[in-house]
């Protein structure tokens, strides 16, 4: 290490001397991540398996909270880089790839036949023809709804957007928020936008928009916002002030009927007392029947930072995480979907089976998520715009002009 001072190296030597007695020649693999409680336990179980198979490697996992991690990663990648770090697929990893902070792991893909077994995620992990990390899980987005609330107002589960909007009037009459969300951390609002845009304009258009090829003042974007305006009055009024978990509580209490969310929310709904009997899941309803159905399924990934000190063992670990068995075990524990085509999913969980069915039959394409498909800066400005629109829809023109100005600045 370049920057060790004398005191630190002395401490290190003492540390090494004292630890050799306990663990003969163990190599440490530092792993930084931002897991929730359940995935953390699942990953620790998986790490225990890995350590049992590789007794000479000691994986030290350090967990962060998500918002803190997003900031910390910029810091630790350039200073005290770990050997492994969690991040996300698609455009979200591009800044780190382009600035040379993630290591090329194409050899791990090639040596383990991952180009076939992880084929569904190959495109989202590839930049400049190389792969930059290993995907280990993904999960569907859609609408989670309270079946009791539907029963209380006598509404049918909709399949088209018009039916959905019509239901909203029934919910409003009963004092129930038709659609809830909590945008204090911004990203939940992007889920609604993504689906409205995918259903109105389709996958290709949405991808062109997030990659900066289409103007935000385009007619198609306006059509998307026109659909959004139809439900805007029925969205939880104080959504900008609450967190997504607070909005989840509204759905649990029956004060809200529908929630556009990712499958990780199921754990919170169930913790609040909902069961498979009163928690429902439906794909986002059809808006334009001529558009092929596309879905949103963010992929979570593990990378090797360029500053990693134990690259050899890090690659061994990535190969292990990519294997069908490891992905089956991990995803069964966390209630999400494995990437590896040789893995199996838990058939007794209705949400997992629904997600698997939904994603494996998607004709249109699978988007990552607005803040992963668009560059970080555009994503932030965009999500602020979505939040503002849901509070003050009359500002639409100003919002779109601001996003367009940002697009011209950011993508050039």
């Amino acid at each position: 290490m370049l920057h060790l001072n004398k005191g630190a190296s002395a401490a290190l030597i003492v540390g090494l001397l004292s630890s050799t007695a306990a663990f003969a020649d163990q190599r440490v693999l530092n792993y930084y991540a931002d897991y929730d409680a359940i995935p953390l336990a699942a990953m620790e179980a998986l790490i225990a398996d890995f350590e049992a198979a590789n007794p000479d490697i000691d994986v030290v996992l350090q967990n962060f909270d998500h918002e803190g991690y997003k900031t910390a990663i910029r810091n630790f990648l350039t200073t005290d880089a770990p050997d492994l770090a969690n991040w996300y697929a698609g455009n979200r990893m591009a800044p780190f790839v382009e600035s040379g902070q993630f290591m090329d792991v194409s050899d791990v893909w090639a040596d383990n036949g991952l180009n076939e077994s992880l084929g569904s995620a190959l495109a989202s992990m590839t930049i400049d023809g190389k792969q930059w990390g290993i995907p280990y899980t993904y999960y569907q987005w859609g609408i989670y709804y309270n079946k009791d609330a539907y029963a209380a107002v006598g509404a049918e589960v909709p399949t088209t957007w018009d039916e959905f909007v019509a239901n909203c009037e029934k919910f409003a009459a009963a004092g129930i928020d038709c659609l809830t969300t909590g945008t204090s951390a911004l990203w939940p609002g992007a889920g609604i936008f993504d689906y409205l845009d995918l259903r109105t304009n389709g996958y290709e258009y949405h991808m062109d928009l997030t990659s900066g090829k289409i103007a935000w003042t385009d007619e198609g974007v306006r059509n998307t916002f026109a659909e959004w305006a139809k439900v805007q009055p029925y969205i939880t009024a104080n959504h900008a002030a609450i967190d997504w978990q607070d909005a989840a509580a509204l759905l649990v209490q029956g004060k809200a009927a529908n929630y556009v969310m990712g499958n990780f929310a199921v754990g919170v709904f169930k913790q609040g007392g909902m069961t498979n009997d009163n928690l429902g899941f439906m794909p986002f309803p059809t808006i334009n029947p001529d558009v092929a159905r596309a879905e949103e399924a963010p992929t979570d990934t593990i990378h090797i930072p360029s500053g990693a000190t134990n690259v050899e063992d890090a690659k061994t670990f990535l190969a292990f995480i990519a294997s069908a068995d490891a992905q089956t075990k991990l995803n069964a524990a966390i209630g999400q979907l494995p990437i590896n085509s040789g893995s199996t999913v838990a058939a007794d969980d209705p949400f997992i089976s629904a997600g698997f069915e939904l994603l494996s039959t998607t004709p249109g394409g699978i988007a990552q998520f607005f803040d992963r498909d668009a560059p970080a800066e555009m994503a932030k400005i965009g999500m602020e715009g979505f939040q503002e629109f849901m509070v003050l829809p009359e500002n639409l023109d100003a919002i779109l002009e601001r996003l367009e100005a940002a697009r011209q600045r950011i993508y050039n």
Binding site: Q62, E67, G68, Q253, G272
Partner: protein, 281 residues
Amino acid sequence: MFPRPIEKSSPAVRTLYKVALPVALLLWLFPLLGVALTSLRPASDLAMGNYFGIPSSIAFSNYADVFNNSPIGQYILNSFKVTIPTVIGTLVLSCMTGFALGIYRFRGNIIVFFLFVAGNFVPFQILMVPVRDLTYNLGLYNTTGGLALFHIAFQTGFCTLFMRNFIAALPRELIEAARVEGVAEWRIFWYIVLPLMRPAIAALSVLVFTFIWNDFFWATVLTTSASTQPVTAGLSSLNGQWIAAWHLVSAGSIVAALPPVLMFFLMQKHFIAGLTLGAVK
């Protein structure tokens, strides 16, 4: 004398005082009570939206979970490793700078003193990037020592202001009498001034201890790993990728708040003395 004892005011004022005090107290303590209550709530209450109602059950297990799910013992140890050297370092330095600036009349005395004071008016957030780079280049990034060094440097300014004013208020005759007797300058510092500074040292050590223990900003900027992060920065790791475990964070905060609270009760007298020490001059 100010403040006048409340018994001497009119009955109406006294009644108002008796009513307003509990109200103000409750208002003041409301967020803290919320944290305390949340720390005893089961996770299901939060998922159901029961934030301020009666907890459905008392979950002391949250406290056990904090110790099981996070290395909070290590975090607290790190906090001590940062706080104690900082308290000692700043006090040693500021006693000496305070003595020099308070006793000796040399050219530039006022300018040096103003430099110390002016440092206090720099909003420390603007130092974030240079300090991070400096610590990194010194090889002290992500070490408790680096964090403590920065705190010593930054707290010394405030402590010097405090100490210098305290020493300047001491009777000069004491020092002059000692000089007449031929006592060496360092012995004057050690045997005459330092014993008189005991109340200031006690008050400052309590103040600096609480400042540094509660520091969150520099802890997050200068440390990244569990082996070096103080408890204020480490606690947020109880939250995960999407799900915030506020019941655990609350329980952890209460545990983390215990050392400064304990310190306050042990040294309460000095703490209040410290807050008013410079004020009457």
